[in-house]
């Protein structure tokens, strides 16, 4: 998958690869599948599916292991400290590498003197970077002919050293002398848009996306630092506004957020002539292998990437990146393994961020709420990269008669952005969902009634019903700013949208051994969302054994290819392949043991750790004993993802967040007290893990809305808070009471009918829900994040100037 874009136009082409050429209609069968939300809209629908597909699963209630909140398979390893992350890998003779980073935001590198570093007693290797990864690249590379890559942000890696201890590496890195020829720079979005602004690139430049999305459009104009607009039009928006009876319009601004995964980016690379082995903290073992093989021009078969455990990514960890290629180069040079883990400062500066946004959003509607026009003009900076588009929610949440979106990236001398949990969507929804609320106020309509009118998504319709009946929503005072006293309470809601992306490069192998043990293998990595556990649940369901009996091997490119975990693709892409392989292996198993058991395979089933006869002709035999009758030592089946059964249907997911806030009108503090999060996640494979992800999305979203802010000094171009105490992240005391309500929604698309949750999980909509709750509390819109006390007080002091920012 090239990338995840924010609009329907791009989405369709990315959703899935074409189905493999069909040999004829005969390899299809018609099945009946459960569709809809149990308790609300559940019904049966027919689907044409490949003949080899396993029997249709009923809804979760009727399954034994799938859909149950089973304990995380690797929970014990994590709570005891046994789980080995990339940062923990130690190999004999391993060296510690450290980057030398640019100390200035924009410069040509005149010279790099490594002699002092080389003579440091602990140093074993030095590497000067001649090709830097990340960020946009010039369409016409001849515009910039330099020996070393031009420095476009402070913190860009320039060179690296490898030494016997981390301390020695740090000392040696400080001894590398880099001579810069400074170029004027700009780090502020507004200044970068100005006509006479210093140019980040001498010409037009574009950035590719990653497996996790991000990147930006390529075929757009560029004027100065402004890369865009990328325009999308549906009907005539001017006519739409002429048809409107009510118009709401406002400017919304969101800040740059850094991913701040706890385990930093990094690898341990071990270059041997016959094989490059790399332990990587990544969301995509496949993406790391591909990039390393490409960069060094070596066969993919001779690159092995291992990710046993990884400490968070949130969209920024795809590909080998600078740490990967530099560590591999240093290992090749020194002949021993090299570890290169970024430090916390580098993690903030050089490996991605959620781009900022500055949006003008205008919505026209009829008096009954029907939207006649949506017009969004957005600017945002992904530093020296692109990917600040945020039109997804405006384009995909509601029905409208006309739409025009104009997305612009603005280059600044800052680290390149990267996909971050629902790229563009928290920003876009912050503006859209507050504007829709404002429209409801103007139309004197209830915010849920208005959404019922303009939102056709069948699952969000159910979710709104759940919200409407909730105690939290019922406690909302319909009159904004009604509380007396300085601390005012408010309740608000907002909706989200995310898309169904399927990665066809998803495969798994199932092995049944003669001793009755079962294992499943896939290169997929468990980034904390719990695919390891879900795989065991699927095998348990298929073989009728408890999940702890299943050995799950993931995070190694030696296993069948697995999806890169970005865009909520992992569970919905991989689990059908896992189930299909489990089904086929179980059928082969029954066929092999049936004769020895005096039965026919068709009469046998696997239930509760036993092989049983459906007709009762045979006494039940334990699975282990039956396995002893296998004619071979090992039965295997490998399956790759089958395309979605009906690609015309159910392409988006949605959720609703309701936030209760307290706003201290004297101090300007916003405190989120309670959150109700109602979410569509298809068939939840493991509800406990799904709820964990939604909790996380909510907390990350609160953190984005109220606290986090990457601050760059305009005079020096340096980040002033590249740590975890001045870069504020919500912690235990900022965590509200969160109630998650999962809405099971069956869509009949695969043998597991699983969906994803990572992006839709709260993070898209909670910011706008807080914004709407703040308005409900104080009667004033706060249109800027983070909503710090200064921003809130400023908004309170200028209530009449709705369009002006604090």
């Amino acid at each position: 998958m090239e990338g995840i874009m924010a609009t329907h136009a791009n989405e369709d082409s990315l959703l899935q690869e074409a189905a493999p050429a069909s040999d004829g209609k005969s390899d299809k069968k018609t099945v009946t599948m459960p569709i809809g939300v149990p308790g609300y809209t559940l019904h049966d629908e027919q689907r044409e599916v490949p003949t080899a597909e396993p029997p249709v699963w009923p809804i979760n209630k009727e399954l034994k292991y799938v859909g149950k909140p089973l304990e995380r398979l690797d929970g014990l390893a994590k709570v005891t400290g046994r789980a080995r992350y990339t940062a923990d890998v130690q190999l004999p003779g391993m060296l510690y590498a450290k980057f030398v980073n640019a100390s200035v935001p924009h410069a040509k590198v005149v010279s790099i003197d490594t002699s002092a570093a080389e003579s440091h007693p602990g140093v074993r290797g030095v590497h000067v970077i001649e090709s830097v990864m990340g960020g946009a690249v010039l369409r016409d590379p001849s515009l910039e002919k330099t020996k070393y890559p031009v420095v476009r942000y402070a913190g860009q890696p320039v060179a690296a050293v490898a030494a016997t201890t981390p301390y020695a590496a740090e000392e040696a890195a400080a001894l590398v002398k880099v001579q810069y020829e400074n170029i004027p720079f700009v780090v502020d979005l507004d200044k970068a848009r100005a006509a006479n602004a210093p140019l980040v690139f001498p010409g037009a430049a574009d950035q590719a996306g990653t497996a996790g999305g991000g990147g930006g459009p390529h075929n757009v104009p560029q004027t100065g630092n402004v890369h865009g607009p990328s325009i999308k039009r549906v009907a005539d928006v001017e006519q739409g506004f002429r048809d409107a009876e009510v118009v709401v319009e406002a400017r919304y601004v969101t800040q740059v957020q850094t991913h701040s995964a706890l385990e930093t980016h990094g690898v341990v690379a071990d270059w041997k002539p016959e094989m490059l082995t790399v332990w990587a903290s990544t969301q995509g073992t496949a993406s790391v292998r591909e990039e390393l093989a490409g960069f060094f021009n070596i066969p993919m078969s001779q690159v092995r990437v291992i990710t046993e455990y990884m400490g968070g990514g949130f969209g920024a960890k795809f590909g080998a990146g600078n740490p990967g290629v530099v560590a591999a180069a240093l290992s090749k040079k020194t002949g021993v393994p090299v570890r290169l883990m970024l430090d916390r400062r580098e993690e903030h500066l050089s490996v991605g961020n959620r781009p900022s946004s500055d949006q003008m959003l205008r919505i026209g509607a009829k008096k009954d709420g029907i939207i006649s026009a949506i017009h969004l003009v957005s600017y945002g900076t992904a530093g020296c990269g692109t990917g600040a588009g945020c039109a997804g929610p405006a384009t995909n949440l509601y029905k409208y008669a006309s739409l025009q979106t104009e997305e612009n990236d603005v280059f600044t001398n800052a680290g390149p952005g990267a996909a971050m949990r629902a790229p563009g969507h928290p920003q876009g929804a912050f503006a859209l969902e507050q504007t829709i609320d404002e429209l409801a106020v103007k139309l004197n309509m209830d915010p849920i009634d208005l959404r019922d009118k303009i939102d056709e998504h069948p699952v969000r319709r159910v979710e709104r019903q759940v919200v409407r009946e909730s105690a939290l929503w019922k406690s909302r005072n319909a009159t904004a700013g009604a509380d007396r006293g300085p601390v005012k309470r408010g309740v608000g809601l907002a909706q989200s949208v995310w898309y169904r992306f399927v990665t066809m490069e998803s495969a798994a192998e199932v092995r049944v051994h003669k001793d009755g043990s079962i294992e499943v293998l896939s290169a997929v990595q468990d980034i904390g969302s719990g695919i390891r556990t879900v795989m065991a649940q699927i095998l348990a369901e298929q073989f009728g054994v408890t999940p702890d009996k299943i050995t799950v091997r993931v995070g190694d490119t030696n296993y069948p290819v697995g999806p890169n975990s970005g865009g909520s693709v992992t569970t919905l892409s991989l689990t059908p392949a896992v189930r299909d392989a489990a089904w086929q292996a179980s059928q082969k198993f029954l066929e092999e043991v049936a004769p020895a058991l005096g039965a026919t395979a068709g009469d046998l089933e696997l239930v509760d750790g036993e092989v049983r006869s459906k007709s009762g002709k045979m006494q039940p035999v334990s699975f282990k004993r039956a396995a002893g009758k296998m004619k071979t030592d090992q039965i295997t089946a490998q399956c790759k993802r089958v395309p979605d059964y009906d690609k015309s249907k159910y392409l988006t997911y949605g959720g609703i967040d309701v936030a209760e806030v307290e706003v201290d009108t004297e101090l300007g503090r916003v405190h989120v007290k309670r959150v109700l999060s109602v979410h569509d996640c298809g068939r939840p494979m493991n509800p406990a893990q799904v709820i964990s992800q939604i909790n996380g999305g909510i907390i990350q979203g609160i953190s984005f809305t109220l606290f986090e802010n990457r601050l760059l000094d305009p005079d020096y171009g340096l980040m002033v808070n590249p740590n975890l105490e001045q870069y504020k992240i919500a912690g235990s005391r900022e965590t509200p009471d969160i109630q998650v309500q999962l809405v099971e929604a069956y869509i009949g698309q695969s043998s597991t009918d699983a969906s994803g949750i990572g992006e839709a999980a709260g993070v898209v909509s909670i910011g706008a829900a807080i914004g709407n709750a703040v308005y409900n509390a104080i009667g004033v819109r706060v249109r800027q994040t983070p909503m710090t006390p200064a921003v809130v007080l400023s908004a309170l002091n200028q209530p009449a100037q709705g369009r002006n920012l604090a």
Binding site: A77, G81, L262, G697, L724, E725, S732, T735
Partner: protein, 225 residues
Amino acid sequence: MSDPTRPHPHPEEDQAEKQTAGATGISRRGFLKGAGITAAGTALLDGVQAFSREASGASDAGVTVLGPGPVPVRLRINGKEQTLQIEPRTTLADALRIQLGMTGTKVVCDRGACSGCTVWLDKMPVNSCMTLAVDAMGHEVITIEGLSAEGALHPLQTAFVKHDAMQCGFCTPGMVMSCAALLEKNPHPTEQDVRHAIAGNLCRCGTYPKIFAATVEAAANVRRA
């Protein structure tokens, strides 16, 4: 302030510092002085000197200079005596992770802002990235690997698994150590107590709600046991 031959400008601070040190065994100033030069003055540092005199001679001013090369450091970790040959600037976190291969303790911010590296010194949770290994001498160090007796799990560990109080798991060892320390001091914690105890522990995946639930439940199980 790093020059011990000059009179201390703030005797009252010194007094307060000593009281803190008396209560906890570790002083902030002790840490700062330990960064390169370890000076005599506290019982703890005397211990360091006694052990490392063989590596470094005492200077005329009564100050022992350790390093910069490796010195022998004897630590008691999870009930076991360990002698390491490390540079005096080595943090306890690095000594555990790199020298001893005990990688359960994680380093996240490397400056005391996230508590990912939490271990116990005499049952008090400390940031091991902000503690020099030499300053841990004479103290009982407990790490995530040593929290539970051989083969058994601490009730908190069981509760974390049961409540799914983890996602990526990178903050989990630090969270477990902070919450277990809370239970040592307060067998009846409320959710508010847990929030307070882990206010310095950062989790980026957002597992806090389940950590609160797991810890409150584990406390009940500890009381019953």
